[in-house]
Subunit: 163 residues, 2 copies
């Protein structure tokens, strides 16, 4: 089972792809960021995001995608930009026919560390452990995306058993 | 010149199409709403919106599209839903190669009525006058979309002259 994690954003979108070899053995296949050019208009950036993500989805052959829900930040402008980009991300994945999960940040933290209030360091340490990596994946957006993919490996399994 | 106005939303998206026969004579060609099923998941609704809007764009043959910018409402959840839908609307129009304008609500009001703080009634009365309609277009979302299209007819002209 291959699971794609996506950390939504407008300027930088984190992407992480893992393979669940069993219910407890996960392997990181790829992590990267998709970026959009700040000099372009919003419609142009959203279109670039759609095209780049579509290209990645075609290669990735994922069975499940996980896109984090937005929590309101202090900066409303940023939240609106992220929300507009997130809409395009969801539509692009839906269009490709991949099943989708949408955890909140606390749900993600709880799943990875057992603590819904875990800080970034706790998350990254646990990610290194779970994926058996030599070091913390960079940049942070890509590490967040890998954590989302691990959430999918754990939760997607449960959903399959229920279904 | 054919101009499409889009009033963004997740449950109900207003659509208005007008023709500018000269720089001052505008004719309403069509107005309607696209709706998405509340029982569906967010990705499913966004995908439905993308497909319905793509279908409308293929028929409409618009030269210019106008999509209102989001102003923060009291209800943050609603603003985020609208923003996610708006991202899909912008990407869908960009994908179709149509030029886009994005006025704020005050810019729209100022253009239609000469008053950036105009209320709904003033906007609708002026819309009936400008488009030479027999009555106020229904529902409100479609009337808002027609007003956006009129904005495009007025402002798009200026932009063409400058370009």
């Amino acid at each position: 089972m291959r699971i794609l994690g996506v950390d939504p954003g407008l300027a930088t979108i984190g992407i992480g792809l893992i393979e669940a070899q069993s219910s407890q053995v996960f392997r990181a296949l790829d992590w990267l960021t998709i970026t959009t050019e700040p000099g372009l208009s919003l419609p142009e950036r959203l279109s670039e995001l759609h095209d780049d993500l579509t290209g990645f989805l075609q290669q990735a052959q994922a069975d499940l995608a996980v896109v984090e829900k937005i929590y309101f930040s202090v900066n409303k402008k940023t939240a609106l930009d992220v929300a507009q980009a997130r809409g395009v991300i969801l539509q692009t994945i839906q269009e490709s026919g991949i099943r989708l999960l949408e955890p909140t940040p606390p749900e993600l933290k709880l799943c990875i560390t057992g603590d819904g209030h875990a800080d970034k360091r706790q998350m990254q340490d646990m990610l290194v452990h779970v994926l058996n990596l030599k070091e913390i994946p960079r940049p942070d957006d890509a590490a967040d995306a890998l954590a989302l993919a691990v959430f999918g490996a754990v939760q997607g399994k449960k959903i399959q058993l229920i279904a």
